[in-house]
């Protein structure tokens, strides 16, 4: 089954070409040009990973990351930045980003990270299901 990816960047030309390259690699890609668009898409659900630009007009990447993690904590977020400093990378990881990549990113390396992101998400979703089942069993005294 194809990975479902949400690609977020304010540069339309970047979104178009990345979307085409990722689709050619078997991924199902949805694009968003702003943080608000991205959060609306996240609300609809169904994504395995989000590739998110750090610097965008309005709400920046780190604020968007926080908002995504609040809505869907199991979603794996890969941040893209034109200027990846160690400081920003650490802050991103502390806020729950799965990875932090400097632009221009190598498509094959990014694809690998997306495969990994999907696997991480599946593990988290399974854990969530287990916890829910345990709670139901405990609640009913089985």
């Amino acid at each position: 089954m194809a990975e479902k990816i949400l690609l977020v960047d304010d540069e339309t030309d970047f979104l178009e070409v990345m979307s085409e390259r990722m689709s050619a690699r078997g991924m199902e890609v949805t694009t968003a040009e702003s943080a608000l668009d991205a959060l609306e898409q996240v609300e609809k659900g169904g994504f395995d990973a989000i590739v998110l630009d750090l610097m965008m007009p309005g709400m920046d990447g780190l604020e968007t990351l926080k908002a995504i993690k609040r809505k869907r904590p199991e979603l794996q977020v890969i941040l893209l930045s034109g200027h990846a400093t160690l400081e920003k990378g650490i802050e991103a990881m502390k806020l729950g980003a799965m990875d932090f990549v400097e632009k221009p990113a190598d498509i094959d390396a990014l694809t690998e990270k997306i495969h990994k992101a999907r696997a991480e998400k599946m593990v988290l979703v399974e854990k969530q299901m287990e916890t829910k089942l345990k709670n139901i069993i405990n609640a009913r005294g089985w």
């Binding site: 970047f14 070409v17 990345m18 390259r21 034109g82 200027h83």
Partner: protein, 218 residues
């Protein structure tokens, strides 16, 4: 103890750093798009080797994108180069319209990050003024940052360059919230040091919702 010269120097250095970082960020974006389109061409070639025919219309789209982004990068570098050369002469005669146009080009990213729009009204060319171009750009850069912070809800900043009786003037308008708490905030210590070096004057007119910068005839 920090002298006016130290403060001016430091303020100029900060503006230089901030501006080159902003422009280089834009350059990276343009290069990223060029790189990905080059990669897409490779993808098409790999598909062709596997028997999927090349589509000329797709190749045209990719070629156009590369061309457009190369022009974008070239324009950015041209502006950065002009900015770098603005420090060549400590005092020289310039066309103020050119200086303000360069300011607009250099602060494009700052404006778009605030989700604002800029409208520029230039005065009759040439609008010559004897000034220190780099320090003028630095001061106007500070005016731009303050104006974007104080922008009204419409998020449209209007820059006007005009001749006045004793020199030239640049107006940043319409700004909101200039009464009360923000009085005295601008110009601050750094801006006043720059104004002293430029032999220029700046004042905020809350009733006109404007920030005005006056450059006298030297």
């Amino acid at each position: 103890m920090t002298t006016t010269t130290d403060l001016t120097g430091w303020t100029g250095l900060q503006f230089f750093g901030r501006t080159t970082a902003s422009v280089s960020h834009e350059l990276k974006n343009a290069l990223a798009i060029i790189k990905e389109n080059a990669g897409l061409l490779n993808d098409y070639l790999l598909m062709a080797e596997k028997g999927i025919p090349l589509k000329p219309e797709r190749l045209k789209i990719v070629a156009d994108r590369i061309d457009q982004q190369t022009r974008r990068a070239d324009t950015l570098i041209k502006h950065l180069n002009r900015f770098g050369h603005s420090i060549d002469e400590p005092l020289t005669t310039v066309d103020l319209n050119d200086v303000v146009s360069l300011l607009v080009a250099l602060t494009q990213r700052e404006v778009s990050m605030k989700q604002a729009t800029l409208q520029l009204s230039m005065g009759e060319s040439p609008m010559t003024v004897k000034t220190a171009p780099f320090w003028l750009l630095t001061f106007l850069g500070h005016c731009m940052t303050f104006s974007l912070k104080m922008l009204g809800p419409q998020k449209v900043l209007h820059l006007q360059v005009e001749k006045v009786a004793d020199g030239t003037r640049i107006i940043f308008t319409p700004l909101s919230g200039l009464h009360g708490a923000h009085q005295g905030e601008f110009p601050g210590e750094a801006e006043n040091a720059l104004l002293q070096s430029l032999d220029a004057a700046c004042h905020i007119d809350p009733d006109a919702a404007a920030l005005l910068v006056n450059l006298s005839n030297r």
